[in-house]
Symmetry: C2
Subunit: 246 residues, 2 copies
């Protein structure tokens, strides 16, 4: 949120993210609407994926479609806006958690619950394939990923987090778990996610002497994997996937 509104409010003619430089200053109500749109877009994208009707986003934001189109001429402008907001908030949550909790594992727990509350994680995978990464977006992503990785490293150094847990085990699980269940929106959904996160967190703990555990199976998705996404995405148009489907 913060970084995003800053970027707009102070926008001079810097030829950066928004592609269209806003004429110096926005009216207060317009700015407010912009926030509403971004929040709505985040929620709808999370639930329905990046092709969700813009119409619906406008409605949920409580504005007319025209307003949405004026602020974000393209769908990809909107997606980019959401992505920036999401990365920023994630990184901030990680920093806050670090400063707030002395024990590193507790910091990780705090962060993960916060990320869940923000319903942030689930938007990302849907969005990543749809926006070309550039310096700006890549920067905010880095700003998010680094403090999260730091959380992991510290907790592992303290011996409270399983040593074979990787960045992807945190990030991708957050994406899964913070995504609303499909179909009828479920009232219990949010709370249940927190409960299940608690169980997952217990699984992330360094095993005690009592219960011997097997090595974790499966692909090693570390922070480098996320960085590689960039290359993966850049060459690819918003169109349909190339290979055989699933």
């Amino acid at each position: 949120m913060t970084a995003d509104s800053d970027a707009t409010a102070t926008a001079t003619a810097t030829a950066t993210a928004g592609a269209k430089a806003q004429p110096a200053r926005m009216r207060a109500d317009a700015l407010r609407n912009r926030e509403h749109i971004l929040r709505a877009a985040r929620e709808i994208f999370a639930a329905q994926g990046p092709d969700a009707p813009l119409d619906e986003i406008a409605r949920r934001a409580g504005v007319g479609v025209a307003t949405l189109y004026r602020r974000f001429p393209d769908r990809s402008d909107l997606i980019r806006g959401v992505a920036v907001e999401v990365f920023t908030a994630l990184g901030e949550a990680a920093l806050v958690a670090r400063d707030e909790r002395a024990e590193p594992f507790e910091a990780l727990r705090t962060f993960m619950h916060a990320a869940l509350d923000l319903k942030l994680g689930s938007v990302l995978p849907a969005l990543m394939g749809r926006v070309a990464m550039d310096e700006v977006l890549d920067g905010v992503r880095q700003d998010a990923a680094d403090p999260i990785q730091e959380l992991l490293t510290q907790a592992q150094a303290a011996g409270t987090l399983r040593p074979d847990v990787l960045f992807g085990d945190i990030a991708l699980m957050l994406m899964r778990i913070s995504r609303p269940l499909p179909g009828e929106p479920l009232a219990e959904d949010g709370d249940l996610a927190h409960r299940q996160l608690e169980i997952y967190l217990d699984g992330l703990r360094t095993p005690g002497a009592t219960a011997p555990r097997a090595e974790l199976p499966g692909p090693a998705v570390d922070i480098g994997w996320f960085k590689r996404i960039r290359a993966h995405v850049i060459g690819k148009a918003p169109g349909s996937p190339p290979g055989p489907q699933i």
Copy 2:
């Protein structure tokens, strides 16, 4: 699969699930196509939700649209078909796991991995809101839920599964974790899900003496909750939700 094809192959004029009683016997190739359609529908529904284009389902099944429409005149016929298949396979997986593993927690683990492989869980929540439960559907659901609950009960009796874990902690997590991540289909997705399931399973274990754990927070979603879904759904048309959205 099994129960479903049985139901169709032997279909006399029993005025049951399919609503249209098939004329006694289907040609072998037609039956094969029907299976293909159901499998395709399951995958597409899982990935895209219950409003996915039927067109695409037909294409993935390798049949013409006409074939799909002949076999399942309505979208809801298709959904119901998938739901029956899914419930049946889930229940079977639970029974197999129970018979195959002596230690109850291992049986639970085996079951959960199997459910993941079948990519089953993720279809259900999407589908549940779209089909009116009747005796038939309710029956197969029961046939699935009961053996799963039994798995839990036994593992808890053996002391290896946390005593405060409920049906919903298993079922809803399976739904979350088996749902493909949105956006570009990810090659690692399946394996990663298994890896994360392993972590979750560790969290499900009865805690050792070393690491004291807090009570699980959040809503208690037990098997009764699932049974209540029926009432919840029945009064509701396939149309749009009534209340304020999310």
